[in-house]
């Protein structure tokens, strides 16, 4: 297996969809969210215990709000937990994340279909 941190995560965090070789993903963004989490763990931003607790809390919240709890939404909760920890640890505020999300949305709107979408400074001003 290529990544020791990933194997650690797969053991320490409950519910990660996996097969005999480790984690599996339904869509590319899920692997990207997973990869960012590994990178932040490697930087010492949180422990796996902390991560698992935050993720469990996000899952509980989503279920209270009517999440079907089928496992298909696991990585949506993962993403919510990642955004939350990034904010709580003072890496980036929710406002910054939101502004950047809007900038990407703007970049999409001006990018013709089939071209790579790239973020420019001007995307932040509309």
């Amino acid at each position: 297996m290529p990544n020791a941190t990933a194997m650690q995560a797969a053991k320490a965090v409950p519910g990660i969809p996996q097969d005999e070789d480790g984690p599996v993903f339904n869509e590319p963004w899920q692997a990207q969210a997973f990869a960012m989490t590994l990178a932040l763990y490697d930087r010492g931003l949180f422990t796996w215990g902390e991560w698992a607790a935050t993720l469990a809390d996000e899952i509980k919240r989503a279920q209270a709000a009517g999440d079907p709890d089928t496992g298909e939404t696991y990585y949506s909760h993962w993403l919510a937990a990642l955004e939350r920890l990034v904010a709580e640890k003072g890496v980036a505020t929710r406002e910054t994340l939101h502004r950047t999300r809007d900038a990407w949305d703007h970049a999409c709107d001006r990018t013709p279909h089939g071209q790579p979408i790239e973020l420019r400074a001007s995307d932040f001003h509309e």
Binding site: E27, A33, M36, L97, H98, H113
Partner: protein, 209 residues
Amino acid sequence: MAHDHDHDHHHHDHEHSELSETQLRVRALETVLTEKGYVDPAALDAIVEAYETKIGPRNGARVVAKAWTDPAFKKELLDDATKAINALGHIARTGDHLIAVENTPQRHNMVVCTLCSCYPWEMLGLPPVWYKASPYRSRAVKDPRGVLRDFGVTLSADTEIRVWDSTAETRFLVLPMRPAGTEGWSEERLAEIVTRDSMIGTGLPKAAP
């Protein structure tokens, strides 16, 4: 991800790119974490690439196996791959504008493109690293036989090689030839020998044992 797309597209003026809400949030996180020095995009790509065979439902193999065993489905697939695959419902779903191209003894098909968005990952899983690399793309167009040789595929000199350049508007799925010695195999067993590379055209299905 590397973006070095340089081929011409025929666009409709009203069409622009779209990312889902989730994809926007993931990109925003990556941008912010990269700017602040918490993550290195190349390191993230390396982690994702380590899972390239573990991403996506990889339904292409089942679609190919079905086409090998069901002539009516094969015809529908070659007529309109998106419609044929989505009609299967329980097996797979795919985006618009998917075209299936059939390998025959006379013609071998191979697909190139450097854009992640052009790649039918819901059929094939995540694209391999080399698929996005510009040397692959430029060489595939100029010297497809040489590229195939590098992948260990030697075709007869009279087999024509057709290279398909995929865009976000048209994506391709290669329907490889069914290997000899697989007569009477079930769809499940056939699906196991359909490799990802055989559906990009840089490989052949695993030979029957």
